[in-house]
Symmetry: C2
Subunit: 302 residues, 2 copies
C-alpha cells in the first residue's frame, strides 16, 4: 500500500566534525520519503521554491517517489543551517529561513486521495488537519510527528488532530512536554487518552521505545563506528517504520515490532553519510543484512 507523506522539503547547510556542506537536499519529508521508498510507493505533499531543480527531482525519481503533490512556487525553498559539536551530541541551529514554506497550504492531487497510510510530518496541526479533510477514503493508518513549538503554541489544534491519529511518533522531550509527565511509560497513558493507541518515542543514539496499549517494544540504535551527520535520523526512522508497515498492509504486534526494527535500520543508514546521500543508493540486501544484525544485537535465550 502506498504512503502519503506531508512535510518539509528543504535545503540544509550542515557542519559536523566529518565535513561541511553548504546546500544539500533536506527536510523531514525528504528523509522520510527516501527511507520509506525502500518498502512501498511514496507520495509527497510539500512546497518548494524556484531553487528546487531537476537535480533534486532526480534524487526522488531515482527512488520512484511521486512528487505530483510537491507545489513549486516563486521564491526560495525552506533553508536550515546547523552545526554539530565535536561529539555530535549537541546541535546549534545557525539559520532557519522558512521562505516559501511560510505559506504552505497542502493541496492533495486527486490521485493521492485514496492513500491508505498517511504520515503527517511536523508542521502546523491546522495544516495536518487540512490534509486529512482532503482524503477521500478513510485511511488505514494515520501517523503524526510534532514538536515543542506546536505543543506549546497550538495545543488545542494539536489535540484535535491527535484524536484522528493512530500512531504518534515523537522524541522523549516532546512526549514529556505534550503530557506533562516525565515517566515515559505513564506519559504513554496520557497519549492514549488523546487518541493514538501507539506511541513511538524516538531516542536518538538510545534507539526507540514503542508503547502500545497492549505491549511494549524497545529497539536500540545500531552501534556505528562513525556517524557522519545525524541530520534526519528521526525522519528516516519514521520513513523506515511507516514504509515497512504500509508494505505489510496490516497492523499487529508482529508488524509493529518489525517496523521498529526497520525504522532503526533506516535511521542508522541515514547518519552514515551527509544529508540524504546514503538513502539514495541503498540495496535491499543491505537493509535485510542490517535488520539481521539487529537480531544478533538483541536476541537472547533464557
Amino acid at each position: 500500500m502506498s504512503i502519503l507523506a506531508v512535510g518539509s522539503v528543504a535545503f540544509d547547510a550542515i557542519e559536523t566534525p566529518f565535513g561541511k556542506v553548504d546546500r544539500t537536499l533536506g527536510g523531514a519529508a525528504a528523509y522520510f520519503a527516501l527511507a520509506a521508498s525502500y518498502f512501498t510507493p511514496v507520495r509527497v505533499v510539500a512546497i518548494v521554491g524556484e531553487d528546487f531543480t531537476e537535480k533534486e527531482r532526480a534524487i526522488f525519481r531515482g527512488r520512484k517517489i511521486d512528487l505530483t503533490g510537491v507545489e513549486q512556487v516563486p521564491g526560495k525553498s525552506f533553508f536550515w543551517a546547523g552545526r554539530y559539536s565535536q561529539n555530535m551530541n549537541e546541535r546549534t541551529t545557525l539559520a532557519t529561513e522558512l521562505n516559501v514554506f511560510a505559506d504552505f497550504r497542502p493541496t492533495l492531487p486527486a490521485v493521492y486521495c485514496d492513500s491508505d497510510f498517511i504520515f503527517l510530518g511536523n508542521i502546523d496541526p491546522t495544516l495536518q488537519r487540512s490534509v486529512l479533510t482532503q482524503i477521500r477514503c478513510k485511511p488505514k493508518v494515520i501517523a503524526l510527528d510534532t514538536m515543542n513549538y506546536w505543543i506549546s503554541r497550538t495545543p488545542a489544534e494539536l489535540r484535535e488532530i491527535l484524536k484522528l491519529t493512530q500512531i504518534l511518533m515523537v522524541n522523549d522531550d516532546e512526549t514529556r512536554q505534550l503530557t506533562g509527565e516525565h515517566n515515559l511509560f505513564r506519559a504513554a497513558k496520557h497519549v492514549f487518552e488523546m487518541g493514538p493507541r501507539t506511541l513511538v518515542i524516538k531516542r536518538g543514539e538510545h534507539g526507540a521505545l514503542m508503547v502500545h496499549d497492549k505491549f511494549l517494544f524497545s529497539v536500540p540504535a545500531f552501534p556505528l563506528e562513525e556517524v557522519h551527520d545525524p541530520t534526519g535520523a528521526g525522519d528516516s526512522f519514521a520513513g523506515g517504520f511507516m514504509g515497512y508497515l504500509a508494505s505489510a498492509g496490516r497492523i499487529n504486534a508482529e508488524t509493529l515490532r518489525r517496523a521498529m526494527v526497520y525504522g532503526s535500520v533506516l535511521g542508522s543508514f541515514a547518519v552514515e553519510r551527509f544529508g540524504v546521500e546514503r538513502l539514495t543508493n541503498l540495496k535491499r540486501s543491505e537493509i535485510t543484512k542490517r535488520a539481521h544484525l539487529f537480531s544478533k544485537l538483541t536476541a537472547f535465550k533464557l
Copy 2:
C-alpha cells in the same frame, strides 16, 4: 561458583520525590552482593564502623551472604547523602563522609582465597590490585568497576589493574573519559587494548550495551511506571550480571547475553523501592518472570 566482591558498605541518606530516608544500608558492595545473592554464594570484602549493627548484618544474613571479610573498626561507616530532582534525572550529592573507608586496606580471609569470580568494586586501583595478590588460585573471571576520580587521579595504577581484568563495567562517561573517545564502539577497541575483552557500558534509564571483541549486545532498561530511588541501580545491575555468570560457571556469548538481561532485571527491581529494600525480599519466580518480560520487550521476527 562463588563470587568475591570488594567495595563500599555504607549508610545513605536519600531524598527523592517519593520520600526521604535519613540512614539506610547502602554502598556499591551492598547492592552488588544482594543482587548477586539470588544466583550464587557471595563473599564480601569491605570495612564498616561501629554503627554497622546486627540490624545490617541480618539483611546480608537473610541472603546468606558471607561477611567474614567485612572488617569492623572503631569509628563511623562510609556515609553518603544525596537528593534526586523532581524528574530523577539529576542527583545532587549533599555529603560524602569516607570515615573508616578512608583507611580501607582489603584483607581476604583465608576461606576467600579460592574465589573463582571476582568483582572489584569502584575503589582505589591500588587496593583493587591488593585484592588480586591475595587470591591463591587464578580466578576464572575478574570484573572491575571504576569512576572518573580514579581515571583522572591514578591512571597508571588503573592501567595496571585493567591488564588483569576480563570485564570492565562502567558508564558512558567513564568509558569516554578512560579512552578519550566519544564513540562508544570505538572506545571499546581502546579498552580491549588495555586488557578487558568485554566492556559493559551501563546507561541508566537507557539500559546497557556490551561490546565483546566478537559480538555486540544491547539490553534496554525495564520501563517502570514508578522509580522510587535510582540509588544503586548500576551496582545491582553488576550484581545480577556477575551473579548469573558465576552461577552459569562458564563465559560464552550465550551466558554473557543472559547475564546482561539478569543485570537489567536486578537493576530494575532495585529502583522500585528505597535503598536496598527490594533486593532483600525478591522471589526467584519474580526474577524469572521479569526476565521473560525482557524477552517480550525486545524479541521480534524478521
